[in-house]
């Protein structure tokens, strides 16, 4: 279920005091504030100039958590000055995916830029991303070019993407930078939930959108070395596994579970056959713990296959319902 949003500051209808609101914006910059950010007015002052320099109407849309509302107050002054700022409040614990999903229908631009609430790239990079979308790319995601400093950060990122490429393919080097420009349609057609928003470029590519990584200079603030708690690393790996399964097997779960199950029950069967042969040869097997192991393998394998069958039932039942499985790029002579 899409979370609901409460507008904190909405743009008023066109008026002389709000020149930015007079025209429909073409670029919507979304800032989903989930962690305690740098001050939001600083963020706006830092990142709005290159967007403004594109010369087209734009809007900055902040989505804040419950406690983020007080942070949003810092934007009030900017709004007084007529800056095109809108602020929405989401319920607590909605997360970045939920915020993006909820704010989607409120965005008015054709091009949507997502910007993390703390500086990751230099501001001028945003314009490069938007221009890339104007050139016909569906989603342009920032690839941070490190400006020296954090070797550790690069090492972590490198290892993560090695796993990503190994498991899923593609050529992403900085998939989770969070700074992206995309055509509105991408956001409308790629469902994001849970922590999947991190992998939006991968998912968009899966849906058949043209995705490109654009090198953008990293922000000095972002290149400080950072070491996370072990829990974060575990979570990232689980995220990757989830993505891997989702991309490869969600439409054919039995291919995965069947493979695992066949392997396991195969090992089990092998053990049991060996024991059976020994029994026929006159050896007692009742006191052999190997018997237990053989049955354990076999039973676990059967469970895996049964799980796969459940998965297939779910896939089968949902086939032909709701969203289509494919995306049509063009159809000459569309249905009349």
């Amino acid at each position: 279920m899409t979370p609901t949003l409460r507008p904190v500051f909405e743009v008023e209808t066109a008026s002389a005091s709000h020149p930015g609101a007079a025209d429909r914006p073409r670029v919507s910059v979304v800032v989903a504030v989930t962690e305690r950010p740098s001050s939001l007015d600083w963020l706006y002052r830092e990142y709005s100039p290159p967007i403004r320099a594109l010369g087209e109407p734009f809007e900055f849309v902040f989505v804040v958590d419950r406690w983020g509302t007080e942070l949003a107050q810092s934007l009030a002054e900017l709004r007084q000055e007529g800056e095109p700022i809108r602020v929405f409040e989401a319920g607590h614990g909605v997360g970045e995916s939920g915020m993006l999903e909820a704010v989607r229908t409120h965005l008015r631009g054709d091009v949507v830029v997502t910007l993390p609430a703390y500086p990751r790239v230099r501001a001028e990079g945003l314009a490069a991303l938007v221009r890339k979308v104007d050139e016909g790319v569906d989603l342009a995601t920032a690839k941070r070019t490190a400006i020296g400093g954090s070797f550790l950060g690069r090492l972590q990122r490198g290892a993560f993407h090695l796993l990503l490429r190994w498991g899923i393919g593609g050529s992403f080097e900085d998939v989770a930078s969070g700074v992206r420009a995309m055509r509105r349609e991408v956001l409308d057609e790629v469902p994001v939930y849970g922590d999947l928003v991190r992998f939006l470029p991968v998912l968009a590519q899966r849906e058949g959108f043209r995705v490109e990584e654009v090198p953008v200079p990293q922000h000095p603030e972002d290149s400080r070395p950072r070491v996370y708690s072990p829990g974060i690393y575990v979570r990232r790996i689980i995220d990757l596994l989830g993505l891997f399964f989702m991309v490869r097997f969600t439409r054919k779960p039995l291919r995965f579970f069947g493979l695992v199950g066949t392997l396991l029950s195969g090992i089990g069967t092998l053990i049991l056959i060996v024991l059976l042969l020994q029994r026929i040869g006159g050896q007692a097997i009742a006191d052999r713990p190997l018997l237990l192991l053989g049955v354990l393998f076999f039973v676990t394998g059967v469970q895996a296959i049964a799980m796969g069958l459940i998965g297939e039932i779910i896939v089968h039942l949902s086939a032909g319902q709701g969203r289509r499985e494919y995306r049509v790029e063009e159809s000459v002579r569309e249905k009349i």
Partner: protein, 317 residues
């Protein structure tokens, strides 16, 4: 084109730039002007000039239509995309590599009009390699017939004709296009006929198949079998498994008791058998609960929206 065509020919194409124009010409020649028809070509992520060539033809001839998918999705999804865009009362599928002959289309359609829901073509004199193609295919067709109970001579032949009502009940995903007859019979109670069709060797372009699909086909077969047999009552499948596991558990429990009865001499044996018994019982319980989960899935779907139900033919008396 304002009128709705009677017949839609749906052909998925993937990198067939050498074949696609001759294909269009042959379909035109075969169907002529006798019936209202359309040709829906589904471009499944071609990287060559296929789409461009089709688009040019479509610009000249309103009966030719092109649906370009955003990336390569595979034959099943491409076919489904074609079905979704086709408008005819009768649909015919075939391969885009000229191995099927469009001249067979009117023959299949005529057979369909006799009251069948699906007419499957089978390649009578197949022009393929014996060891790499014909023998695996012969074995596969036997296995499919044996397991699904739907005896089709040539599941691998794409040339088939369908009534639209049937395709509204069968949705293709994953790699299910190989099992359309079995799915159609299982899900919609389709009445199926077979007709011999011509088969030409591939002249241009590359084959997209290899022997590597054997494992995938076997797994899909298991799925189709399950869907067909237990579509409305999956608890029965899992319930049967649960019962079998529990029965084995009872036997091993007996063995454990017997070993325990022999006292200290076999005390280790009784522990091992007790462990084995627990494993079998836990499998039984697991499968039983999984059956209930499957029931939840089925009934949730039933609540969300009703299926159109099996096909019925009115009998004239």
């Amino acid at each position: 084109m304002s009128s709705v065509p009677e017949l839609s020919v749906v052909i998925p194409v993937l990198n067939e730039e050498e074949n696609v124009l001759p294909l269009i010409d042959r379909v035109r020649a075969a169907l002529g002007v006798a019936t209202e028809w359309e040709l829906v070509l589904v471009n499944d992520g071609s990287t060559d000039r296929t789409a461009e060539l089709v688009a040019n033809s479509a610009a000249e001839d309103p009966r030719i239509r092109l649906v370009t998918l955003a990336r390569r999705y595979g034959q099943s999804t491409a076919m489904q995309a074609g079905f979704d865009h086709a408008r005819g009362r009768i649909l015919v599928t075939m391969d885009g590599d000229l191995q099927n002959d469009p001249l067979d289309i009117p023959v299949l359609v005529a057979e369909l009009e006799k009251g069948w829901d699906l007419v499957a073509g089978y390649r009578e004199r197949r022009q393929d390699l014996l060891v790499r193609r014909k023998i695996p295919s012969w074995i596969a067709n036997r296995i499919i017939a044996g397991i699904t109970g739907v005896k089709i001579r040539d599941n691998g032949c794409s040339l088939k004709a369908y009534r639209r009502e049937l395709l509204e009940r069968v949705h293709l995903y994953s790699d299910m296009h190989r099992f359309i007859p079995a799915l159609a019979a299982g899900m919609a109670g389709a009445r199926i006929s077979e007709m011999p069709v011509r088969h030409h060797p591939r002249i241009a372009g590359e084959s997209k198949y290899g022997l590597s699909r054997v494992g995938k086909v076997l797994v899909d077969l298991l799925t189709v079998k399950m869907i067909r047999s237990f579509r409305m009552n999956p608890a029965r499948l899992f319930g049967g498994g649960a019962l079998a596991a529990a029965l084995i558990g009872v036997v091993t429990a007996g063995l454990a008791l017997r070993a325990y009865g022999a006292f200290d001499a076999e005390i280790a044996g009784s522990v091992i058998f007790a462990g084995v018994t627990l494993l079998w019982f836990s499998l039984g319980v697991f499968l039983f609960m999984l059956g209930l989960v499957a029931q939840v899935a089925v009934s949730t779907k039933q609540r969300a929206g009703r299926d159109p139900g099996p096909l019925l033919h009115e009998v004239h008396t």
